[in-house]
Amino acid sequence: MTTLAKPRLRFSLDTVSNYAVIIAFAVVVVIFSLTADGFLTGSNLMNLISNKVVLLAIIALGMTIVIGAGGIDLSVGVSIDLSSMIFIMMIAAGYAGFFAIMGGLAAAFCVGLANAILINKLKINPFLATLGVLFIGQSIQRLSTQGGVPIYLTRAEYAAPFDAIARTNLAGVPAPIIVMILCIIAVYLALHRSVFGRYVAALGAQAEVARYSGIRVAFNLSVVFIACAVLSGITGILLSSTVRSYVPFAGDAFLLDAIGATFIGTAISAERRPSVIGTLLGVLLLAVMRNGLLLIGWNFFWQQVGIGVLVFLVLGLSFGLKKRSE
């Protein structure tokens, strides 16, 4: 006969602390299903995913890599906007959709490269380096749009490339969702299965130890920041291809949610590290909260309050219990 130790209180505390995000997500979904009319409808969920989740998820994946490596990227908005701006300008100039997309991604790549150079060559810390790039990027947008005038391409003469993108789908799944899934798979493999992912974790935990272990710190950090910028660039193109316009500074709105989702996501790993799964849960939680609160009639400011309280609850539950059980 085997004697199994009774699960003790500590065990269950640990469990609660590790699954706080999942529990919170489940609770939030249940509450909104009961209280918010139209929350559990197909059209609302589809709208939620393709408009809120996709864009935030891709940016947050980039942020997960950067924060995982011990950095921060305040310039994701610039990558989004510049990529979107170049993309729209090139379409307006008559380029084919493919080249416009490449142009947009190239712009985002340059933002990442600028960050990498500032951080590696000039040894500026990531917070300040990306903050500087954020300021410069905003100015570039102002200068190239007469102080921030949006570019709308809603007239019929521009419709062809957008229609082509909008028609693209795989077995009925629209292109943006496919793109998101591909990004998730790619980042998951990179962070959790590849050698690069280990180096990222080492940089995040203790960069000096990484250096002494023969890891090329500068090279890997460059990849990290460029990857984040390019992922943001992809978002910029998805964003502007659905609204068929470029609105200056539209990308800045994603910054805090991306950082928030990443940190909320750290609560699901026992080591409290950023992870792809955790970040996605964080994204879903934030998106569902926003959507649900909107449906039950809270305005934007009260939504912010609600989300703030939720973040405290989740992280407090998770980290507080973790501390307690030590």
């Binding site: 050698v195 992912g197 080492a202 203790q206 130890v209 002494y212 023969g214 080591e271």
Partner: protein, 502 residues
Amino acid sequence: MTAAIEMRGITKTFGPVKALTDATLVVQPGTIHGLIGANGAGKSTIIKILAGIYARTSGTVTVMGKEMGVITPATIEAEGVHFIHQDRLLVPTATVAEAIFLRNEPRFGPFISYRQMNRQASELLRQYFDMELDPRTLISDLSTAQQKIVQITRALANKAKVLVLDEPTAALVKKEVDNLFVVLRRLKAEGRAIVFISHYMAEIEEICDVVTVLRNGSDVGVVTPADVGIAKIVEMMTNRDASEMYPRREPVIGKPALSVRNLTVAGAFQDVSFDLYEGEILGITGLLGSGDKDLLKALFGQVTPDSGEIMLNGKTVHFRTPVQAVRNGVAKIPEDRRAHGVATGLSVGENISLASLDQMSSRGFVQRDAEARNVDALIAELGIKTPGRHTLVKNLSGGNQQKVVVAKWLSCNSQVYLLDEPTVAVDVGAKVEIYNLMNRLALEGKALIFLSSDLEEITEMCDRTLVIYRGEIIAEYQRGEIDANRLLAVASGAALNQKETA
């Protein structure tokens, strides 16, 4: 007489890990009380419970007759109990004087009097350790040994009634250890109680009046070293025979692996030349600040030499960064484990494979089975005490963290190994494991440079020993030509003139 410290029935669990089980520690005033046990026995844990860093799961703590409820670092310091922890570092951006007088700064009205503070700090360092150190030096610029001395000085400045030292002599050279012992004896004569943790049995024998032996989280005996002898104590703590301390090896020396010619780093060492052969263990020894550490740094690309040449297998190399050194087959076990050796936020497995992922991956993806096999083999081989390879390194005891560093470099198949104090904080049993591994590497044709402040280790393990004094190599000995005591004399420069005339 009331005991200075009385800890009874102490139990501490970390999740599923039971670090202490019903442990007892009773320390009388006016004694130096040794606390010994293998890596992971629970020494640091019981100390941290006393210090209020960990909350005990159960048990009672009495300090000078006063029963302590919940302990915090502030309440215990108020009772006059001071600690030099194994892994609590000083604030790296503070100056020496600021660190010594932290929370006890000499004041002028509401302001800190820096002039007075600096002067007093210099005085204390000179008075106790005979050390000339600019009190405005930043902590981050000090060596490990100097940081320890600053920590001890802080406790002295606070007039501690009870002083607890968790492995204070790790990485200290003999002269500093002697100074420390003079200080400890003085404190003892003044009626203070001292708890002293060390893996060096000779030190225990020399300084301790009584010893509590911990094994697997419980106290297995309180003995007087003078009565029972060290061999018996080692047996109590490890359950093994201590006679085979230094394993023998028949050296097979090959061709030169590393050649150094006229190497100079201004301000550290000058005109250093030597060869290191395949299959050789070469000891380098010198006093604190003699340039031995800087030499290793230059060989590992941490500092760029001002002149001279380094050749690897006959080819000149210029390492500008440790990365280049590692990629050319040079590995280094750094002295400062916490800053450079292990990433405490990563797991045991991630740390061990960090430097050798290239060998355990294909097309950029980690082969997790191969990695797990390799890691588990090394954990078993070195006897790393951990619940598994997924445990975070920060949850391991100090000595076991050191073994993780060693395991990391063993797994990466380098050609030249630079070992800077590899056995620091490692228990007697594990030291033998590390010696065995060094021997095995040498027999595989690797070339090893071995730095240690434990001179017996040097004379027993090395085929050849270079003595560096004030940045110059002043002597070279083959195995068996010199014993630890004479080596110390030579390294201190005392025997310099004799040697030259001989």
